[in-house]
């Protein structure tokens, strides 16, 4: 099959071939979303926290140049070496150079979506260096030779029986054992020996504090700490947007992050790395890879506020039913769909269309990114640049002209309801990609606006 036509819709169709699995995926993520809701509702000042987080990040975007310099200065004073990488290629080259200096052929890495974005593992493998991912979910997808399908829950698409089979093949666990407790214990033993042997550890960064030059890394498993504290060389890779101004701002973000991500009050470990331990080297790589360009796009710069909690994916009706791999990008879901077109508008032209624009993502986002509005704006940009596929471009033009004229919108709604009631097959056809895998519901006789007018009168 020609891969050029494997856009989100085609990949989602593949994922939807197995309906029970899709339902399971959908329900599991919705359950995580509900845990998030319970946590959010238990904090009376939740909305104020979101507002504060969004404003702190706004301040960061406006002052990023100075904060980066402040962070660099403080990190250097703390004894770290700071590297700057303009793009993924340069980032990978810096990491390779550090590993070659240490003459290392195998090393551990904790979760870092940035290194996924840069395809670091493949690059190092091409240079004869094996990276062992140590987050359990990441190790699982790594053994399966797949990318993560979710930024927080990397193997959310995998059934335990498949994981049991993978562990049987790679770690020698008994065939047919798919007990999560047993498999986790097996992974613990396997990865402990990797931690003990590894002389270099790569970690991601959740927050980097300009004021102190320290970096905060959040995990539930403790893998970042096991790797970094045992290694002679700790390499921390971060996008330039991870900077926050002051230490006390961590209070706001650490209250929001895990609650939004998995519905926990905080991750098990929130580690604050400031200086290298005695005798250790600490390298920090600051990566741009399109971020400074996104900063200049007024409509899209807010996407740089993202703290990678994954809440927008868990809530997204499209993500839940299409799976992370259908986004063919390191970061899936609504946030991936607004970050990816900045990296490559042609390759990711389909992603802004992988949304119902229902706005649920924007409602849960802890830093209040206007995600669904950015999706809508990207559609226009992508269409203007001539990157949207034919059917979508036509749909977009129609939608824009309809939405911009309220009279026409009402008329179009009336017509559609009439068509749906009398001839549902007209909408359920191959020219309307939304009708794939679904029967459109019976159309109501009146529109909400008509209904409201009627009932107001009474």
């Amino acid at each position: 099959m020609d891969t050029s036509i494997k856009d989100h819709a085609a990949l989602a169709e593949q994922f939807n071939a197995n309906e029970p699995r899709v339902n399971w995926h959908d329900e599991t993520l919705w359950w995580v979303r509900q845990k998030r809701d319970k946590m959010a509702w238990s904090i009376p000042e939740w909305e104020e926290l979101r507002e504060a987080a969004s404003r702190i990040k706004h301040n960061v975007l406006g002052n990023l140049h100075d904060y980066l310099l402040e962070f660099e200065r403080n990190a250097q004073q703390n004894g770290a070496t700071v590297h700057w990488a303009a793009d993924a290629e340069e980032h990978n080259r810096i990491v390779l150079g550090l590993l070659q200096e240490q003459n290392v052929k195998r090393m551990v890495k904790s979760k870092s979506m940035l290194t996924e974005e840069c395809h670091l593992n493949h690059y190092l493998a091409d240079h004869g260096i094996e990276v062992i991912d140590t987050d359990l979910g990441e190790r699982i997808v790594q053994l399966a030779k797949e990318p993560p399908s979710h930024i927080v829950l990397p193997c959310i698409h995998k059934k335990k029986e498949e994981i049991g089979d993978l562990f049987h093949e790679h770690l020698g666990t008994p065939a047919g054992n798919a007990d999560p407790q047993f498999l986790t214990a097996a992974a613990r033993a396997h990865l402990r020996s990797e931690f003990i042997q590894s002389r270099v550890a790569i970690t991601g960064v959740n927050f980097a504090v300009a004021e102190t030059g320290e970096m905060v890394v959040c995990t539930n498993e403790g893998n970042a700490d096991m790797g970094a504290h045992l290694a002679d060389v700790h390499i921390a890779c971060m996008g330039i947007e991870k900077i926050i101004p002051q230490r006390r701002h961590l209070g706001v973000f650490l209250r929001l992050l895990a609650r939004s991500a998995t519905g926990q009050p905080i991750t098990t470990y929130s580690s604050h790395f400031r200086t290298p331990k005695p005798g250790q080297q600490l390298h920090i790589i600051l990566v741009d890879n399109g971020r400074s360009r996104q900063l200049g796009r007024e409509d899209f710069r807010n996407s740089l506020k993202c703290i990678r909690c994954g809440a927008c994916m868990n809530t997204c009706p499209v993500y839940r039913r299409s799976g992370g791999h259908s986004y063919h990008n390191a970061i899936a879901g609504p946030i991936g769909a607004i970050l990816a077109p900045n990296l490559d508008m042609k390759q990711y032209a389909d992603l802004p269309f992988a949304s119902t624009l229902c706005g649920s993502c924007s409602n849960v986002c802890p830093v209040k990114i206007d995600i669904h509005q950015q999706l809508y704006k990207w559609r226009q940009v992508v269409t203007q640049e001539g990157q949207a596929s034919g059917a979508k471009a036509a749909g977009m033009k129609m939608m824009t002209s309809v939405l911009s004229r309220p009279g026409l919108y009402k008329f179009a709604g009336k017509t559609a309801r009439w068509v749906l009631r009398l001839a549902p097959g007209v909408a359920n056809n191959r020219f309307n990609p939304w009708s794939k895998q679904r029967e459109l519901p019976a159309a109501p006789k009146t529109s909400f606006a008509d209904w409201y007018k009627e009932n107001r009168k009474q």
């Binding site: 000042e45 406006g62 359990l136 209250r255 900063l295």
Partner: protein
Amino acid sequence: MNSRDRILQAVKANQPDVATLPDLQAFISPAPASLETFRKVAAGMGSHILEIKDESEIPALLKQYYSDANIQQVVATDPSLYDIAAPLNWQTGDGRQLQDADLAIVRAQVGVAENGALWLTEAELQVRVLPFISQHLAVVLDQSAIVPTMHHAYERIGGPQTGFGVFIAGPSKTADIEQSLVLGAHGAKSLTIFIKG
């Protein structure tokens, strides 16, 4: 121009006008922390809570609680916390000297009621990897060191005093396999918190 200068120049050219930082004072209510909340939330994170009046109660309580865990090597960062001495020179080395530690006993500076987290720093830990590499972890916390929220915690901690600090909330855990919660991913498999009244 090198990458550093190029990135900084692009950022400067593209960044929007600076907005003011929000005032966080409103989040720091003067209401005292609730011990009850801390107990409940910490237990929800998988911690095992014991209240004590005196630190001399610790060894017996630990022996009882971990009676089935085959505890051989115990590392108390303050020797007064346990009745068996830690291995000689446990502080010396790159951390791997602690790979057989079964139980670590350390002091925490702060406890946070809203999430059950404990603040530990390199000053108490002496070896950074200790609370992670040890199979089990016990932490001693003064009841007076419990604060309501993370905002209060950072107020109290202030700037960094050491090279490393960590909030730990419960034992190491994962739910990566079909969202079933399993304790003991890579770090300590259990966390016992002694709250000293």
